[in-house]
């Protein structure tokens, strides 16, 4: 199939990173879509965990929030939020954390807190939520977000969650034993940290995308690996599953309720 949007390619490429063996802590939005596509295609036995405490959830529609009833209804079990963060996340039971972000830098540090100074922000973003500890306590981290100059920046105004910090062995120096971000999946390409410097480097380019387009959409001078492959295009099954769940989700979230009628 070559008839697909960059966002569809991003979600499907992200879904392919996951396997049946993953116990995955799922961020809301793009990560949630990717994780559920994986579950509905090649990884039916994947364990999806949302920070609301729902473990082993199998939603039929994508949740709008991390605590939609759909998640609890389809979960193997549901725990309290302190138990989720203490026993399951800090306890080291989660293999993979899947995050999105507003901004990322070349070492895969993420910002979802503020644009501008913290005390007088130009834009106040929602904040970190679970991300600071997801980033340090999961075995490895995948990140998915669209490639843009606004999002992929030379310097973050605020580090909400640490990726590879200043690069190199920074994580080890801070005592972390987990791998940190190992893949960043965008709508144009896939990035991996360089094995030594940990700087994000293009390793796979999506069908029909040029190197120039990637360079133009990144806020730093982005590097390409020696061997860059073309990302396989979405299969008919992958696209059908993604479009189906998106359609079900859209229908489910559009009620008849208007703000005026609601209390």
């Amino acid at each position: 199939m070559t008839d697909f949007t960059p966002t569809e390619m991003m979600t499907i490429a992200a879904s392919r990173e996951l396997s049946n063996d993953d116990v995955c802590f799922v961020g809301i939005g793009a990560p949630s879509a990717a994780c559920n596509i994986a579950r509905l295609t090649h990884a039916p036995d994947i364990t999806l965990i949302y920070e609301s405490g729902t473990v082993g959830t199998k939603p039929d529609v994508l949740p709008l929030s991390i605590g939609d009833g759909e998640l609890c209804d389809t979960a193997l079990f549901t725990v309290s939020v302190p138990e989720m963060f203490r026993y399951w996340l800090q306890g080291g039971r989660i293999t993979t954390g899947f995050l999105g972000g507003a901004q990322i830098d070349r070492f895969a540090n993420l910002n979802t807190t503020v644009v501008g100074p913290y005390d007088h922000p130009k834009v106040r973003l929602p904040g970190g939520g679970g991300a600071p500890e997801i980033a340090s306590n999961c075995g490895r981290i995948f990140i998915t977000m669209a490639l843009s100059k606004r999002g992929f920046v030379e310097k973050l105004p605020f580090v909400t969650s640490m990726g590879h910090g200043e690069g190199g062995d920074h994580r080890e120096r801070l005592g972390m034993k987990t791998k940190g971000p190992t893949r960043v999946i965008t709508d144009l390409c896939i990035l991996e940290p360089d094995p030594e410097t940990k700087e994000l480097t293009v390793v796979s380019i999506h069908h029909g995308v040029t190197r120039d387009k990637i360079v133009e959409n990144c806020g730093w001078a982005i590097k390409f690996a020696d061997a860059v492959i073309e990302t396989p295009v979405p299969s008919e099954t992958e696209l059908a599953v993604l479009r189906d769940i998106n359609a079900r989700t859209k229908k489910a979230h559009q009620g008849t309720e208007t703000g005026k009628e609601a209390a």
Partner: protein, 285 residues
């Protein structure tokens, strides 16, 4: 023993100006009706505590009821910004709002420490993150056995915690089900507590010996407010109104639209108005 009161009585007796107040519910069982009663009674200078401020704290901030907020994620889930919260932080409207910002893990641990009557919580957290640079309430503690340096945050000890639950019996024992969040910890950490419920029943009949039950002697007041978690949800009663969460973006974006909405739906409304959202449907989650 918990007293079974009207919502207006429960709030009047237990929520004072200047209180540190936690209204909890992790997406599920958010005590909207009680929050609206706090607004109607004109409580002010509140120190709001909540992991995910959600639309409820957007409303309390927008009417100027809060001097400060302790939180870990301040957005409209899946939709975007909380515009009243942003307006307060970015433009000091309608009044400046001090913030004390944490991560979810730290907030959850801090509630648990409060419930456990400990002065602080520790966690392996905030590693390499910038929040400790801007929040003086994030410090470190060294393990006396291994020497590991861990993050430490003060326990949360609210003057009053307010939650919503599925049901209570006539003695005031309370049952929670589904995504139970940090409500048990938040109630046990607080000096006083108010629980609004969908139903008051003769027999609580917990579905399992391990059900989340708050006994009447650990709760201050119970108020019967069917639908009181709308537009969030009550598992087994009614689903989350994702449509309202999406609609709120437009309402809250504009100061006048927000103020008009508050007048019509909060100031000129009553707790009983929530009952129309409590219609049990087959699809209820």
């Amino acid at each position: 023993m918990a007293r079974i009161l009207s919502l207006a009585e429960a709030v009047a007796e237990n929520v004072k100006d200047g209180d540190t107040i936690a209204m909890e519910g992790f997406t599920h069982l958010i005590p909207y009706a009680a929050g609206h009663e706090v607004i109607r009674q004109g409580r002010k200078d509140l120190f709001l505590v909540r992991m995910t401020p959600d639309i409820l704290y957007d409303q309390l901030i927008g009417v100027g009821a809060a001097r400060s907020m302790k939180f870990s994620w301040g957005g409209n889930p899946g939709v975007g910004s909380l515009h009243r919260f942003r307006d307060a932080v970015e433009n000091q409207w309608p009044r400046p709002l001090e913030i004390e910002e944490h991560s979810h893990a730290a907030m959850a641990n801090a509630y648990e420490a409060g419930a456990a009557n400990l002065p602080f919580a520790m966690l392996r957290g905030y590693i390499g993150a910038d929040l400790p640079k801007v929040n003086p309430n994030i410090k470190t503690v060294t393990c006396p056995f291994t020497g590991e340096v861990l993050a430490a945050v003060p326990a949360i000890r609210p003057d009053v915690t307010i939650i919503h639950a599925q049901r209570a019996d006539r003695k005031g024992n309370v049952l929670l089900e589904g995504i139970v969040g940090v409500q048990k910890e938040a109630v046990l950490a607080a000096r006083r507590s108010i629980v609004t419920v969908e139903e008051i029943v003769d027999e609580l009949v917990p579905p399992s010996p391990n059900s989340v039950v708050l006994p009447t002697w650990a709760v201050t007041a119970v108020a019967h407010v069917p639908g009181g978690a709308f537009p969030s949800y009550a598992h087994g009663y009614y689903p989350r109104s994702n449509a309202f969460y999406i609609a709120w973006d437009e309402i809250a974006r504009d100061r006048e639209a927000f103020t008009a909405w508050i007048k019509e739906n909060v100031l000129d409304a009553r707790p009983e108005d929530f009952a129309r959202h409590a219609v049990k449907s087959a699809k209820a989650a």
